[in-house]
Amino acid sequence: MPNSGESRSIMLLGNEAVAYGAVEAGLEFAAAYPGTPSTEIVETLFKLSKEYGFYVEWSTNEKVALEAAYGAAIGGVKSLVAMKHVGVNVAMDPLSTSAYTGVEAAFVVVSADDPDMWSSQNEQDNRWYGVRSYIPVLEAGSVLELKDVTIEAFKLSEKFKHPVILRTTTRLGHSRAPFNIGELVKRVPRGSIIKNPAKYSVIPAHARQLRRKLVERWLEIEKYMDTAGFNWIEGDGKYLIVTSGLAYGYVKDALSIMGIRNYKILKLSGMVPLPRRLVKKALDGVEKVLIVEELEPVVEVFLKSYAYDEGFSMEIHGKNLVPLTGELNLNKVCMALSKFFEVEYPYNPIKVNIEDFGLPPRPPVLCPGCPHRGTFYALRKAVAKAGVKPIYNGDIGCYSLGVLPPYNMQDTIVEMGGSIGFANGFAHILSDKEIPIAIIGDSTFFHSGLPPLVNAVYNLAPMLVLVMDNRVTAMTGAQPHPGTGFYQDGRDAPVIDIEDVARGMGVKHVIKFDPYNINEAVEKLTDALEIVKEQRIPVVAVAVRACSLYIDSIARRKGVERPLYSIDLEKCTACGICYNAFSCPAIVPLEDGKASIDPTLCVGCGECVYVCPYNAIHTIRPWTKEFESLWW
């Protein structure tokens, strides 16, 4: 880790660079809920906070995180909140009014967007949120600028005492590049009590005043964008290319590869609000314009309207040449430039018809030893035993992978908390034998499962709520949450028990089981389904067993030997249940269809023992006390 003042360049992940930038800018308070591709920002802040004194927390969801950081900024403390793009939807209520009130110290909202949906349900372009909420948006022109633009976001926010959205993307946050770390100073947050209701208590009379001032401030911010160091015009020529955020990097590379020389670039790392005077200067004397931006035509819409106002009449191209969907890449940008400049497209790939290769797909799958696998397997049996017809209202987390074969047990997945939410609808429209089963993770339960569960109890919605409690927020890399019992840095934390929460909300039947004990899990789930069927009320079942990837990483770190299981080939009948119906990746079929356990992949969970009808699976290195002590 670099020391203060050191200036040798080091390779950092983009998200790490954002964290370093924030600390360089004087960060005092950070809150976040994990979400790809934003998570590493706050993970890095946790590491840095020990030395540099600022406060960091994982909050229960994005709205809570945003309010915490917003509150701290009202209290005069430089704050940051980070989330993935859809997290901003969750936080939108307070964010929408934050520009009205402003703040007393810098308040930076990092929105990590996911063009191409590498790990998300949609690819919404959160620059629009800046437009509709009067919040300026900054985005680095390439990974290389990420740290500097983070610092600029703090400066801008501090100057106008106004929230700023720092937009990153999967490509920016998950690329590594060289960075120089500047001086980092220790800062312990110390805010103050604020008594200014005209500004911070937004009753209608105050809001009307604030709204007028907001519009004035917005014009000032637009002027700032005209001359800010992160926006500029470079080159000269009759053809202008306008770049928004990371499009700049692709455009620079593409122009160079294609040997194009006579061009002018308007490079915008601050595009909301669009700097009107700078745009006018760039358009002067130009014959033709191409706007290169990822996803939505945010710059295009505003630039065309300004051009009209100013009486320009040149050709302006944008989404007619640059695709609206998916992330940008050199191919897309070179194609757009080749049409715009009428030059040759530089790439000539070998024509490969990939279907001819007959390649099997390789989606991500549940890990070896994943407790979710046992729960899905047991749930399927219980559904059959109880004689109910389920709709599986799924949710977002590792268990979303239950949508794939062999489980096929996620009929709906839309957004975090949607499982219980959708079940609240299905519960009242199905016949008695048809039951909604809401499947939700532990972290998701705390994030957005509580209000819909209260609703189910209150409105007597028959459903089984199955909480898959693997003790951590596994999908985003095993961050702790309110039920985990420790903080990111390992210190003990209070435990909020999911069973207690459900009972406290008035759920009459709450059961708990260990998915590693599949037989017991089947019994308990069958009972639960029968109660739902007969009594027409919500029942909560909690499957408790830690994420095996997480436990395995601890075992490796501590040098604890894992148990190991093996298949007795004498007893194995080649039925395929373990590798087809159960599908642990550590179990692979041999040529003759019998099963074999790959000792490098097996984590020693023992779930498969219950699955084999012929008792062919047994342990060859049993569980030790030491291994058992890693679980909780």
Partner: protein, 195 residues
């Protein structure tokens, strides 16, 4: 036209592809040469396809373009085939011959020889290495990534006159550095002999 080198590394989650990329980029960063590396690891589960893009030189963006790879390094054969669209007629592909079965029920595995000859019939230059076997010889199946890194260095097409020693210096800072260095050397030698 600027001088740069575009490298695509592919394989299966858990094979150490990101470590491969980090060693390579660290060698260049130490020399003050700009390098960028893009990772596709959206979800933390093991077992999915992983691609790492590494671009070296005076560049501003991290993704290798389709049809623009100078080298493709495949740590697993099915995944290597899956990314052939990145190749052009000058691209060199170095492929581990080993296949890893995706953990899905009832799938048909292709034959490695058939895959390789299909790729060759399209005019793709492909060098094959049994990296799994070499890694086991070096001392651990987990060092397949270093075997393949050795193979990349043996091609002698990396820009900026980097040497074997530059890589071994960085590898010496990794966990299991002895096994990894040995695996690197073995991959280097294996590719040198088939060049």
């Amino acid at each position: 036209m600027m001088k740069y080198c575009d490298i695509l590394v592919t394989g299966v989650g858990g094979q150490g592809i990101i470590t491969f990329g980090r060693v390579l980029s660290s060698v260049y960063n130490k020399r003050g040469v700009r390098v960028m590396m893009a990772e596709t690891h959206g979800m933390s589960q093991r077992g999915g396809s992983v691609e790492v893009h590494i671009r070296i030189g005076d560049i501003h963006s991290p993704l290798v373009p389709v049809g623009g790879a100078d080298v493709i390094i495949g740590l697993e054969l099915i995944e290597t085939m899956r990314v052939l669209r990145y190749a052009n007629k000058d691209t060199i592909v170095v492929a581990n011959t080993r296949m890893i079965r995706p953990a899905l029920p009832k799938i048909n595995m292709p034959s490695p020889d058939e895959l390789i000859s299909k790729a060759e019939s399209l005019g793709i230059k492909i060098l094959t290495v049994n990296a799994h076997e070499l890694a086991l010889k070096a001392g651990s199946a987990l060092s397949v990534n270093m075997v393949m890194l050795g193979g990349l260095v043996a091609l002698d097409i990396l820009p900026g006159k980097v040497t074997k020693k530059d890589f071994l210096d960085v590898i010496s800072g990794l966990r299991m550095s002895e096994i990894n260095s040995k695996a690197f050397e073995m991959g280097y030698d294996a590719v040198k002999t088939i060049l």
